[in-house]
Structure formats: structure tokens, C-alpha cells
Assembly symmetry: C2
Homo-oligomer: 335 residues x 2
């Protein structure tokens, strides 16, 4: 398209362990062509910065990894500038695999038109997004099958998914205990998000604190962290507990393999279940989740803070926040 | 009782790692008293030698451990010699926590009368026993929910529980692959027990062989082994697989803790579930399982070989077979 130039981040090197900034290269001044047939030109508004992005960097990723020389993969929301797909028109807002760049051209079929009456554009990759509220919704309601009065523990409780997961469990009448890092996050989780309690894993012994805060044990654990924290909670599960495994942020940069849960035999001792969860398996019900989440949002039952960073060149610094935990809520990059 | 003297094995020391013979002491020439009110005097016929016995030796066992100075705990079957419990009479056969000894006196309420029309006495701690066929029955049918045409993998396939688990999966119409140690056991599992296939973990790379023998992946894995074998199978699970965790014989003597499954995130990637299983949670349905197992046994659909050792003083040597895998079928000790 005349006058538009793109700025984007291209993968140039696979990381060993924690990625550093040299894994990507900034490409500037790339001309933006008019869309091909059935393609759409999109201005990228917000990119969702997710743990999955770390997995996509490894050759042995369980989905096809980002190739060397390819624009870094990211989900995001954007605005249609011009369209050769009859289903989309300029001005429409869409979500999809937009990549870490300012503009992109994609087949319309890869994009999903978003309903701005439900919530603002950024919310569609956060509280209404796949890797945000939709993940939390199915993890808590379907996999965890949280019941009123049960004790639910949520790790990464100040992050987007954890914060919404805990709030949904509260809506369902559970007693909800978060785990987060630092006094500031703990206060946020209790005072702003309304969790019943929260453990500061940076200053407390999670195992001991769980014993104090959940003396009768844990019915549902929603885990995005793995590692020692998973073992600490496994030691406190009740009979018939459900441990929902959504991710393992503590393990993604381990070069010597993932640390498996050494207390997994608690499952057998306590008739408990560990449920693997990936939101993609619920694709037929995304609409249902979005409608319900938007309704809770409008009713004020859900709070969904966002943390926005700016500029594609800050991709590495922004992704680092996933691992150092220095943000609250949904992590977004405005390219 | 006049003339009867008991021989028994008493725990004198807790093991560090693999138990050795010095953990127990033989006590001989103990006089056997007449039963107290509501107690029953039992002659022990067969003791079930189970992995749980190893766990009972540790101070931090999830059930009360065997105390130092106490007769070694074991489930078994025996014959009532005299009874002060109106529910039992001399000549009745019973099962219960008889302990590693020739005679015992127990409250009648701890004993369960066994039906010798169903199967011979020894079968009641094997194919019809809690730690044998009843475990296999609920693990495969309830926890694993095996369906016709599914691919089922069973570890410790030449052992009592594994051998019955695999045969039940065959009865249900599954394609069943065992894992066992040594060419002799592999032949037994295929030729005698009727499994479709069997991997020799001593001479084959389990991960590679599973790729060959289950190219479309594994729907149900029944695990009594843990460790590297669990990881090898996790890498081959299909979408919506069920991994039934019954035990971890490879880990019980580890002094530096249990090796957790480092590939547990395959559960999330493949919408799969790890189900903890302990037979005690099914206590209300033991009768159902016994009736069905006895019926299959009579119809010749189930084979249940036994390996019998003799003499309480051979407790340590017999228990060692659990870990070195040098037996086929149900491991029994005739005291």
C-alpha cells in the first residue's frame, strides 16, 4: 500500500535457555504491498505476549516452530486497512496470528472478526482472548469443574490467565487462594481482584503457607508454573482433587529438560487427577466463553488489567517480563 | 492354643533405599494363645507380596508405617482354627492383614470370609485379591475406561496386576501391548496371556519400540513402574489419552526422592489426563469385581499364574523379586 512501511522482528537465532535480544533482528522500511486475492491488509494494534512464544522458538516444539528468517509469531488484534476478502472490509477489527510487526497481509480465512460491542479491541487478546480469559474459562469450569465451597489455588495469580481463572472460581462460589510474586502483586490479587487469600512465593515458603491457608487441602489447582510450586501444591491436594496443567513458565528456559512433578504419586494416594489443558481443544465453544466473559466484565464481576509496552524493537524486553514476573495483568505489545 | 508355636518376621530397622535382610528378625517358638473374645485364630496359608510393603517401611509413608518391633504387615489368606467371633467358624477361609507369620490372632471384624467356590484360597490374594485382579479391574475399566479398538499399554506385564490388566483390556476389545523384562517374560505375555505384543525393556529401547508397535499412539497406559518408562510412554500418548498411575516400582527404593515425569506437559499438549488410582477408593464395588473376575477365570478368559516361595525367613528374598523382576505372575509367600 502506498506510503506504508512496515517494521518487524525476525527470528535470526534459536536460544539456548533464556532468550536474549540477539535472537531477533529488527527489519525496518519494508514496503507494504496491496493485498493479494482473498488476502487482507491489517494494521496491528496489540500483540498478545504469551509463554507459548518461548516454545515456538525451539526446534522440538510440539507445533511447528518459528523458522529462522521468519517474522516472530504472535497473536494479536488489528484493524483492516484494505481487503480482497469479501467477508472483511476496511475498518473491521480482527484477531489472528498477526506477528510482531506493524502491518501484515494475511488470508482473510486466518482472521476472526471481533465484536467491539463486547469489549474494546485489546480485550480480545486479553480477557476475551484465547490465551487469556477463554483459557481461564474452560480450565476452571470444564477441566477443573470447580464447585461452590471448594478450595481453589491459582498460580501466576497476578497474570492475565491466573487473575481471570481465580475470579471465575470466585464467581462460582469457591474459596480462592492465589500464588504471586511480591507484596505489590499479593495486595493487587486480594484487594483488586477479590481473591480470598494470596501467597507471596518470593517471601513465603509456599508449602508451609498452603498448609496454613488451606488446612483441609486443595480441591482444584490451576497451574501455569510447574516446578517446585507444582510439587508444593500436590503435597496438599485433597481426595478427588483436580490438578489442571496449563503450562510451566518456570521450566520453559531450562536447558536440561523439564523438572517433572516428583510428588505425582499423591494422585494415586488421593484418588486425584491431573488434567492436561490446551484451549485449542475447546474451539467449538469459544463463542460461548466470550459471551459469558463479556457479560461478567460488563457486570463488573471481572477485572482485567493490561500492561502495554510499545515498539516492536522491545519484543525481547517485553517477553522477559513473562519470566521475571514484573508486570500485572495481560501483557501486550503495541507495535 | 496348645501345641501351636508361631514363627514370624519382625521389623527391627528401617531401610535406606533398597531393604536388606537385616531389616527384619525371625522370631520363633512364640506360643499361640487361644483367641480373646471376638477374636479369631488363623493359620496363614498364603501372603501376598506387594510393592506396598516397601512403602510401609518408611516413616513418612502415606498410611501408618509398620512400627519397629512390630510383625511385618502383609495381606494374606488363611484358615480359621478357632473363633470367638460368631460370624466365623473353624474351617472357614478368610483374607485380611495377617502379617508375615504362620499363625495370627485378629479381631474377626478385620477378616473377610472368602468364597472357595469362586476360586481356590490363593486366588483370593491374587486374581481375586485387592492388590491383584481387583486393582486391575477398576484401573482398566473405570479409571482407564478402555474402549474397543483402543491401544492400551501395560507395564510390569508379567506381574500379577499387569498381566490381569492386559487380559481385561483384551476382553474389552483393545489392542494390548505389554512391557516386561526379558525374552522369557515377553514370550509368556504374548503366548500364554494373549497380549497382542510385548516390549522387552531389558533389550529394547522402549521409546523406539513403542513408536514401532503403536504408530498411532497410546490411548491408555496403565503404569506401575514410573521413572523413564513413564516418560517414554507419555511421549507416545494420543489425544485424550488416559494415563492411570497405580504405582512406581522403579522409584520406591530411591533415596533421593521420586523421579517425576518430565514429559507431563504432553498431557496439556494432547488433552490427556493422568488419573491417580488406589483400589481402596472402590471398596463398595469389590464384590462386583470378584464375581466378574471369577467368571472370566472359569470361562478360561483369564490366566493367573502364581509364584510361591516358602518360609517366613525368606521374606527378604521374596520381596527382592518385586524389584529384580525375577518372577512371573502373583508373588506369594507360604509361611
Amino acid at each position: 500500500m502506498a506510503d506504508l512501511v512496515n517494521r518487524k522482528m525476525v527470528l535470526v537465532k534459536r536460544p539456548q535457555g533464556m532468550p536474549d535480544a540477539s535472537c531477533w533482528k529488527l527489519v525496518e522500511a519494508e514496503e507494504v504491498p496491496d493485498p493479494s486475492p482473498f488476502h487482507v491488509l491489517v494494521e496491528v494494534l496489540y500483540l498478545s505476549i504469551d509463554p507459548a512464544m518461548r516454545a515456538w522458538l525451539d526446534e522440538d516444539c510440539h507445533v511447528p516452530p518459528v523458522a529462522i528468517g521468519e517474522t516472530m509469531r504472535a497473536l494479536g488484534v488489528g484493524r483492516v486497512l484494505s481487503s480482497e476478502d469479501p467477508a472483511l472490509k476496511p475498518g473491521d477489527h480482527v484477531s489472528g496470528p498477526l506477528g510482531v510487526q506493524q502491518f501484515t497481509q494475511l488470508p482473510g480465512i486466518l482472521l476472526r472478526k471481533i465484536d467491539e460491542e463486547l469489549a474494546p479491541a485489546s480485550a480480545h487478546v486479553g480477557v476475551l482472548g484465547l490465551t487469556g480469559g477463554i483459557t481461564a474459562y474452560f480450565a476452571i469450569l470444564d477441566k477443573g469443574a470447580v464447585q461452590p465451597g471448594e478450595t481453589v489455588v491459582v498460580s501466576a495469580a497476578a497474570g492475565c490467565v491466573g487473575s481471570i481463572a481465580g475470579q471465575i472460581a470466585k464467581i462460582k462460589g469457591a474459596h480462592v487462594i492465589g500464588i504471586a510474586g511480591g507484596a505489590h502483586k499479593v495486595r493487587h490479587v486480594i484487594d483488586e481482584l477479590g481473591f480470598d487469600d494470596c501467597i507471596d512465593y518470593k517471601s513465603e515458603d509456599v508449602h508451609a503457607s498452603l498448609g496454613d491457608k488451606a488446612p483441609d487441602g486443595v480441591d482444584v489447582y490451576f497451574d501455569n508454573v510447574g516446578g517446585d510450586m507444582l510439587d508444593a501444591v500436590l503435597d496438599h491436594i485433597r481426595e478427588k482433587a483436580r490438578v489442571v496443567i496449563c503450562g510451566a513458565i518456570s521450566q520453559y528456559n531450562n536447558t536440561d529438560g523439564v523438572q517433572g512433578p516428583s510428588l505425582y504419586l499423591r494422585l494415586a494416594e488421593r484418588d486425584a487427577t491431573m488434567l492436561g489443558f490446551a484451549v485449542t481443544y475447546f474451539h467449538e465453544r469459544f463463542e460461548e466463553a466470550q459471551q459469558q466473559l463479556a457479560e461478567w466484565l460488563k457486570e463488573g464481576k471481572l477485572k482485567a488489567p493490561e500492561h502495554v509496552e510499545h515498539g516492536v524493537e522491545n519484543l525481547h524486553a517485553t517477553m522477559s517480563k513473562l519470566f521475571d514476573g514484573s508486570h500485572i495483568g495481560k501483557l501486550l505489545l503495541h507495535p
